[in-house]
């Protein structure tokens, strides 16, 4: 057991953004959260990260209510990996990763040798130790995303929450990043990512959570759940699921122009 979301609802004033969401994310599992923009994916993530307090229901980490946990305690268990961004100041890649060690440091302490070792190991683990002295602003988007993952590894949390990690990556980097993330899940991390791409759920994920209008449309094995009718409901497009290599690989291929009305119910 690791991250558990039970009957979680959230409203901004009158506006109900999340309605009774329930799912779990186990260690060693890669969960993709699928859904169009504005369905509440980031609100759900914010609730899981302790940034928002749910109106009812709860998100629990190893059984503990996340909204009751101290921030540094939560940060030791859940690491957030934002979309690659450009911070105001150009830190070296190493300094950036070193910041991940903060949840286990004392109030006035700054990182020493053990933390530096941790940061270096995280970089080596992802095969980007050669970037260590480069400026974070000066490396490519794919490299930046890897650095943010390395920072999360240095944070030594068991759950990794990623906000559309592939959003700004080119085709090759997208695939390489997904393979890296897949590997992390196999090493025992619970990985949760938000994405728009059903193929990522098919190819790399163990579970899929489909959100629409603040509700769970489907949760479980992507192979059981992702089909033409789900994609039509989520995105309003017609797709056909193609089975390749004796059904060891499945992909969604759009077969028609985007419809103007959501349909095929």
């Amino acid at each position: 057991m690791s991250l558990e979301v039970e009957n979680l609802s959230f409203s901004y004033g009158e506006n109900k953004v999340l309605k009774s969401i329930t799912f779990t994310a186990e260690y060693g599992e890669f969960l993709s959260v699928l859904g169009p923009n504005g369905v509440g994916k980031s609100t759900l993530f914010r609730c899981m990260l302790g940034l928002l307090v749910p109106s009812s229901g709860a998100a629990r980490m190893d059984g503990e209510d996340i909204s009751q946990m101290r921030p540094e305690e939560l940060a030791r268990r859940i690491a957030y990996i934002p979309q690659s961004h450009t911070p105001a100041f150009n830190y070296t890649v190493f300094d950036m990763v070193l910041m991940g060690t903060i949840p286990r440091l004392g109030r006035f302490a700054s990182p020493c040798e053990p933390q530096r070792k941790q940061a270096l190991e995280a970089l080596e683990h992802l095969g980007i130790a050669h970037l260590k002295d480069r400026g974070y602003q000066k490396i490519s988007g794919g490299e930046r995303q890897l650095v943010l993952i390395a920072r999360a590894l240095a944070q030594q949390a068991g759950v990794l929450v990623m906000d559309e990690p592939c959003s700004s990556l080119d085709f090759g980097n997208k695939i390489r990043l997904m393979q890296t993330v897949r590997k992390l899940a196999e090493e025992g991390y619970a990985v949760i990512q938000s994405t728009h791409d059903p193929d990522q759920a098919y190819l790399y994920s163990d579970k899929v959570l489909a959100l629409y209008a603040g509700e769970v449309l489907a949760w479980g094995d992507p192979r059981d759940l992702i089909n033409d009718s789900l994609m039509a409901r989520l995105y309003g497009v017609d797709v056909e699921v193609c089975r390749l290599r004796d059904d060891s690989i499945r992909v969604c291929v759009p077969v028609q122009r985007v419809k103007t009305k959501r349909g095929t119910k």
Binding site: A75, P82, F89, N90, Y91, S110
Partner: protein, 339 residues
């Protein structure tokens, strides 16, 4: 970049420290009334070691009552303004932030001008400067937090507005001030000067200054995390609200104390942290001590020039702008070269 790596960042900070110590001693020796380097070291050392005086009583009194406090204040003010600039830049993750951004300087200036107008004593001038500086910061934080959405930008805009309010307040005070005594006093003080620094000024200013400097030194690495943005820092377990408040309070305290003793000295808080960023990178672990030391060195040099360059003293504020502004233009025109 390759050449830069020869000296480690820690080594460079150590170098700055040695440079500062040498500069302090030289600055004390420097002045219109001749006191040799040997006498300077002798007088300073006699406080600790039993040295038979080989200097004149005039020299000793001049040194201890005038030069030493002035040099100490110049170093402290430079150190504080620069450190608060570096801190504000981190808190607002904005490279252009400076002590002026929170209206700390103009608030303090308004308070002091008001105290001069009401003919209050020296201690009250300092007290008023301090009070209004904190009031100004409080207002800016309050108004800035009410701006929905972009809180960081809101804060900076509020800072510009409140500063401008206090500036017009100062203009009004100048208008109604007695042109014989008050107006020159206000005007001269606003220009920024350490002229007439006394030992008791050091005693008054050093407490709030240290109260700001020490927590900032202890928390310096954590300021890095504030530059990542609020949500990201929170997910890493940082108590963002509390840390930000502590850093702002410390930085403002130091600014207010500096303005109280030296008037408006511009540019130090913007230029020196940027120079330190160029030399040592953006990690506050090194940036904070380097900013402090370089700020002290810079203002000490500027004050030496201000005292010794011409027969009449040039107000320090004018000099720092004169050096700071072109230097900053040079820095930003080279933006992006490092790494």
């Amino acid at each position: 970049m390759k050449g830069r790596q020869k000296i480690s960042d820690t080594g460079m900070i150590f170098l700055f420290l040695i440079a500062l110590i040498v500069l302090v001693i030289c600055s004390i020796a420097l002045g219109r009334y001749p006191i040799g380097l040997k006498e300077t070291v002798g007088i300073l050392g006699s406080g600790i070691f039993p040295i038979t005086p080989f200097w004149s009583a005039v020299q000793e009194s001049l040194l201890l009552n005038h030069r030493l406090p002035r040099v100490l204040l110049a170093g402290l003010v430079g150190c504080c303004l620069s450190a608060s600039g570096a801190s504000y830049q981190g808190v607002f993750h904005n490279p252009m932030a400076a002590p002026d951004i929170l209206g700390a300087s103009s608030g303090a200036a308004f308070g002091a001008a008001l105290a001069i107008l009401w003919n209050l004593g020296n201690a009250m001038i300092i007290g008023f400067a301090f009070g209004f500086s904190l009031l100004s910061v409080g207002l800016v934080v309050f108004v800035g937090n009410r701006a929905r959405g972009m809180r960081i930008l809101g804060l900076i805009l509020a800072g510009i507005m409140i500063s401008s309010l206090f500036s017009s307040g100062i203009s009004f005070i100048k208008l109604v001030a007695d042109p014989e005594n008050q107006l020159p006093a206000i005007t001269y003080w606003l220009m920024g000067s350490l002229n007439g620094a006394e030992p008791k000024d050091v005693g008054l200013a050093i407490v709030p200054m240290l109260a700001g400097l020490i927590p900032l030194l202890l928390l310096r690495w954590r300021i890095n995390l504030l530059t990542l943005g609020e949500e990201e820092a929170k997910t890493m377990g940082v108590n963002v609200g509390r840390l930000r408040m502590i850093v702002i309070l410390c930085a403002t305290l130091m600014t207010a104390a500096s303005v109280s003793v030296s008037g408006m000295i511009g540019w130090v808080g913007l230029v020196i942290p940027h120079l330190a960023r160029r030399l040592l990178g953006n990690n506050y672990n090194h940036l904070m001590p380097a900013s402090m030391l370089l700020g002290a060195i810079f203002l000490l040099l500027a004050d030496d020039l201000s005292r010794n360059l011409f027969a009449t003293e040039i107000p320090l504020g004018i000099l720092t702008s004169l050096i700071g502004a072109p230097f900053f233009l040079y820095l930003i025109s080279r933006e992006g070269e490092r790494l």
